[in-house]
Amino acid sequence: MAYNHKKLREEIDNYSETVWATVALSHECKWNESTKIVDNSVQVGLGRPMTRPDKKEVTPDIVIQRRQDQGTVAEIKHTFPPSSEIERRNEIFEQLKNYDVDLLGWWTDSKRIENHDLVLLTHLSHATHAVDFLTRDLAGTQNGTFIRNLAIIGYYRSEQDQLYFTLKKEYGSLLDPKLSEKLRLSVPIAVRHLIMARQVRFYDSPPPIPYTLRLLWEQVFPDLAQGIERDKKKGYTPIPVTVETLTQTLQKFFGYEADATGNRGAARYRRLIHHQIQDDPRGRARTLGSSVLPPAAQKIEGKNEKIEGRDRAAVVQFLKQHRIPRGGQPKRVTSSRGGRAMRRLA
């Protein structure tokens, strides 16, 4: 598939917006209206495995425990499928229905909680479609009937005097009536506050590959390259890395760390391997070379089965635009120099 820069940017934009949605919802649930500060006793887990009574494991996108007796389980779908894709639409509510049982895995001694509500978080432009589908098409059906409170919350970016990220409840209610009413009226959160608090770049879903590559390339590798001498024979600064350490670094600085309470962390190790950011399943140290991972790049140029189609084209395009100069730091290059780098790799 041909490389489509516009499409890729759109995908990255959607991914970033979804990440903001997770951060905004977590922030809103943590916000204490009376003290006007963030309540750090509120627990948030991304991609946290929960167990259903039938012992089946489910992994909601966000699990939030606001109080010892009250929690929220949320699923994020930036895009709600169009009306022609009934099956995909059904799957979303089926997924939510899976969470409409007593789940095990909360931050309590018994790992159970008295009650929890369900949230479908989607872009505001799709929220009405989701509401219509639930209230019309699924009315009276098993997938459309929930025991617990279900709310459909839309999110969108808006610009006034500055950029805001707004959450607005379009349907249903939450266990906390105050929060429910607040969300009904819409909650604008200044984006500058979201980015200043934490630098979250991942949620529990794999991003477009260049999105991860960029973070590694511009922010992680230069840091790792410090103190490593340039190898004159090789002509570059070799940086030994393992998938495990890269994953941990990304989780620590740009996502959520795995912890002892059951959170698996995001970005996820398996997904990084899947993306072949560094293809070493046994976690051995491997040397990254003169461009973004020449070993991986050569595989991409050869017969790599895991990066295909548009993803492959996107990585190749990324390689064309980046290289590590003499000092060991990443640098954008002009297309002709990039072309030479590509020929060398090929």
């Binding site: 005097d161 979201l194 922010q219």
Partner: protein
């Protein structure tokens, strides 16, 4: 020059420099810069030309003597600690040729271990006012300045630069700059004093030049400049070093960022054209890579210093604020360079350190 090299202590060196009267093309030239390392040893190791350093108990002195093209460049550079933590004065008595071709070349090669200092126009004005106060019974006149004026965005040349010779009072020159929207790279002054005889004719007492890159030159009266202007430059440099240091996310408790906010008195980003112009300026930054992650309606750029790998995200989310969010590696030298580049290429604003407390507005 030999008597300076024979100085046993810094006090003796400064005392000798205080009595020094330079004849053209020589001047006493000072660079105020920050570093957490021993600059003498660092310069010997990283100098782009042969450079021998001798340590004394209080300061280091480096000497060079080499051929460059058809001329022979030789001189000395004193690395003197200042009263301010991590700030040094690099002093040399030399001509403009040696200054540009040897000393500045050496100073630039020490980046990012040697952190350059940049002054805003306001700071430059304040320093010159202080210089005026240092010589109470004298008159300070601006005799020349190098200035830059931003040209229309999109034109091949970014600035209109000019070197002007003039004879105007300090306040008038800065008021004119403010009106015509240009900024000074350096300002040269003459300090004249009334003669003691009955004719009351003024005579030139000393001359000095101050640049926004923290370079200071004078022909004489070094001791007075040192205790006034140069020490104030050191104080500002120390304040800036503190402000820009320890901003790497690796150094914070929960790896949270310590952003730098550049705010403007009036809205700077009111249209898509402004946004495009700003992005195009940032993409032209030398020795840095700039990735455009978003440019409509808000701006999100990733800037990486190619010299030391320092990275920062740059956000424009309000029309009167640029937010620089340092990442895993963020040296004070690189952050200062980013901010100075924005000041020079876009517009000068106020730099503050916003907190993320009270996250919700």
């Amino acid at each position: 020059m030999q008597d300076l090299l024979d100085s046993k202590s810094q006090t003796e060196l400064f005392d000798k420099l205080g009595h020094y009267k330079c004849q053209p093309p020589l001047q006493i030239r000072v660079v105020v810069a920050g570093s957490q390392e021993d600059l003498g040893a660092l310069a010997e190791k990283r100098s782009p030309f042969p450079f021998r350093v001798r340590e004394t108990s209080e300061f280091s002195v480096g000497q060079f003597d080499y051929e460059s093209g058809d001329i022979r460049l030789h001189g000395s550079l004193f690395f003197c600690p200042s009263p301010y933590k991590n700030i040094s004065y690099l002093i040399s008595v030399c001509s403009a040729v040696v200054w540009h071709r040897s000393i500045l070349r050496l100073v630039n090669s020490l980046y990012p271990k040697l952190v350059p200092v940049f002054f805003s126009q306001e700071e430059l004005f304040e320093l010159l006012k202080l210089t005026k106060r240092t010589f109470p019974h004298s008159e300070l006149t601006i005799i020349g300045h190098s200035r830059k004026q931003r040209l229309r965005i999109g034109s091949r040349r970014k600035y209109e630069t000019s070197r002007t010779r003039t004879e105007k009072p300090l306040e008038a020159v800065f008021a004119e700059a403010d009106e015509q929207n240009y900024w000074f790279s350096s300002v040269s002054v003459d300090i004249t004093r009334a003669a003691d005889d009955d004719k009351q004719l003024s005579h030139l007492f000393t001359s000095a030049t101050l640049s926004k890159y923290a370079n200071f030159f004078c022909t004489s009266q070094f001791d007075r400049f040192l205790h006034g202007t140069v020490n104030k430059m050191g104080e500002i440099a120390e304040h800036k070093m503190k402000f820009f240091s320890n901003r790497s996310r690796r150094l914070t408790r929960a790896f949270e960022p310590r952003p730098i906010s550049i705010t403007y008195a009036s809205p700077e980003f009111t249209s898509q054209t402004d946004t495009n112009n700003f992005v195009s300026i940032m993409r032209k930054m030398s020795d840095a890579s700039c990735s455009v992650l978003h440019d409509n309606p808000y701006i999100h750029l990733s800037v990486v210093d190619a010299n030391d790998g320092s990275a920062a995200d740059l956000w424009v989310l309000k029309n009167d604020e640029i937010l620089l969010v340092p990442q895993l590696r963020a040296s004070e030298a690189a952050l200062k360079r980013f901010v100075n580049y924005i000041f020079e290429e876009w517009r000068e604003g106020s730099v503050t350190s916003p907190t993320s407390d009270g996250i919700q507005p």
